[in-house]
């Protein structure tokens, strides 16, 4: 294997390409690591609310076993999920209301508002021509052969203004709802984890056959 690697002859261009590839891989790894750290930090922050919800009932020993802890945690988590999702639902309802009013006023019920929003973004020709395809087949895999041609540049069409606004509200509500769902999952994980930790009993270092060392004490005299 080592001989095989040592026998590979690289010219300057190959060496440069290899260095660029390595740098790109390091950047991608760094990006992945930072992204994962961010996701983990956000979910840890969201999971703290589960501790807040379950603190009193656990400290006051109202709940004293993992099964009851999980059941009660699920109830409270569902209610918190409902409360949190009220805001994105309200935003979505508001966007729908705008859409209905706009269509009543303009009678453009068949217009696709998401299609209209493509005005604001680049569009690429991902197919190419038969002589110059964008993707090529290498050992059965489709690889990008060249950068695709731009078919559309961003432009602002005033006729599609309502579509832009409605789609903005819809996307905002979806992102917010995804965040709320992530918080729900984080709390659910935390409740499960706490249910195993809080009521944990360990027999580490305990030997049942050991003589119990109990110091006899004088009994407390009865009260008058």
């Amino acid at each position: 294997m080592i001989r095989l690697l040592a026998s590979i002859q690289l010219n300057d261009t190959d060496k440069k390409a290899l260095i660029i590839l390595l740098i790109l891989m390091v950047i991608a790894l760094l990006f992945l690591g930072l992204l994962g750290m961010a996701i983990r930090a956000v979910m840890t922050h969201q999971a703290k609310r589960a501790d807040n919800m379950m603190h009193d009932v656990t400290k006051s020993h109202v709940i004293d076993n993992p099964r009851a802890f999980r059941a009660f945690g699920r109830k409270k988590n569902n209610r918190a999920f409902y409360r949190d999702s009220l805001i994105p639902f309200a935003i979505a309802v508001f966007a729908t209301l705008i859409w209905v009013i706009y269509n009543i006023a303009t009678t453009k019920w068949t217009d696709n508002i998401f299609e209209n929003c493509k005005d604001l973004f680049f569009d690429y020709d991902w197919v190419g021509t038969a002589d110059d395809p964008v993707f090529v087949k290498v050992f059965g895999f489709s690889l990008l052969a060249r950068w695709p041609d731009v078919t559309h540049y961003p432009e602002f069409n005033i006729e599609h203004l309502a579509s832009y606004i409605i789609v903005f509200f819809y996307v905002a509500s979806w992102l917010y709802y995804a965040y709320v769902c992530q918080a729900y999952l984080a709390r659910a994980f935390m409740i499960y984890r706490r249910s195993t930790e809080v009521f944990h009993k360990s027999l580490e270092g305990y030997v049942a056959n050991e003589p119990v060392d109990i110091k006899p004490e004088n009994p407390t005299p009865p009260e008058d």
Partner: protein, 205 residues
């Protein structure tokens, strides 16, 4: 340094597992729609029952009472469902009525000598002047030669003012035989309608 590297490694792990997390978020989103409907129905039922939209769970109530008992607080004192009566910022206004009546006998001139009643409009001593001054009588001190001032009097026959009617102070619009304590407040009279109008204008500001 090692902790940072460990966090970075965990970050890469989380990033690689993010598709599974994304799948979980999608499933939670679908569940959230059903949960929204169920919780909304529960909320509407609680609303029409007259309860709070999200009442405390039984376990939370027990925990709340236990914590309060541990803190030495009576649950009734600090119950969020039973707040204490609000304390007014200032005491309620009290109306004090001072009535000064001079009873004059018909046909009696109070300025004549021998009049057993003191003159109601007798001049009072000015500031710095010695008292008594000549030609002046103190109506509240029995003078020599005068009989007891509270002599035969006739009871006041006129209408009594109703202390509970702000519009009818001393106006003879009600039957005097009816005790003033039980009289119903009257509508504003012609004379004080302007005051009511001014009050309403101020209230609209």
């Amino acid at each position: 340094m090692m902790k940072g590297l460990k966090n970075f490694g965990l970050g890469i792990l989380w990033a690689l597992l993010s598709p599974i997390l994304l799948l979980g978020i999608v499933l939670a989103g679908v569940f959230g729609l059903l949960n929204f409907l169920v919780q909304f129905v529960i909320m509407v039922i609680n609303f029409f029952k007259g309860k709070k939209l999200f009442p405390m769970y039984k376990e939370d109530e027990i925990a709340y009472k236990r914590i309060q008992q541990a803190m030495g607080i009576t649950p009734e004192e600090n119950n969020p469902n039973n707040p204490p009566a609000p304390v007014p910022s200032q005491p309620a206004p009290q109306q004090v009525f001072v009535q000064q009546n001079y009873y004059t006998q018909p046909g009696v001139n109070p300025a004549q000598p021998g009049n057993p009643y003191p003159q109601p409009n007798a001049p009072y001593p000015q500031q710095g002047a010695p008292y008594p001054q000549p030609g002046m009588q103190n109506p509240y001190v029995q003078q020599p030669g005068y009989p007891q001032p509270m002599m035969p009097q006739q009871p006041y026959q006129g209408p009594l003012p109703n202390p509970y009617d702000p519009y009818n102070q001393g106006q003879p619009t009600v039957n005097a035989s009816v005790p003033p304590m039980v009289q119903i407040p009257q509508a504003p009279t012609q004379s004080n309608q302007g005051d009511v109008a001014i009050f309403e204008e101020e209230g609209d500001k």
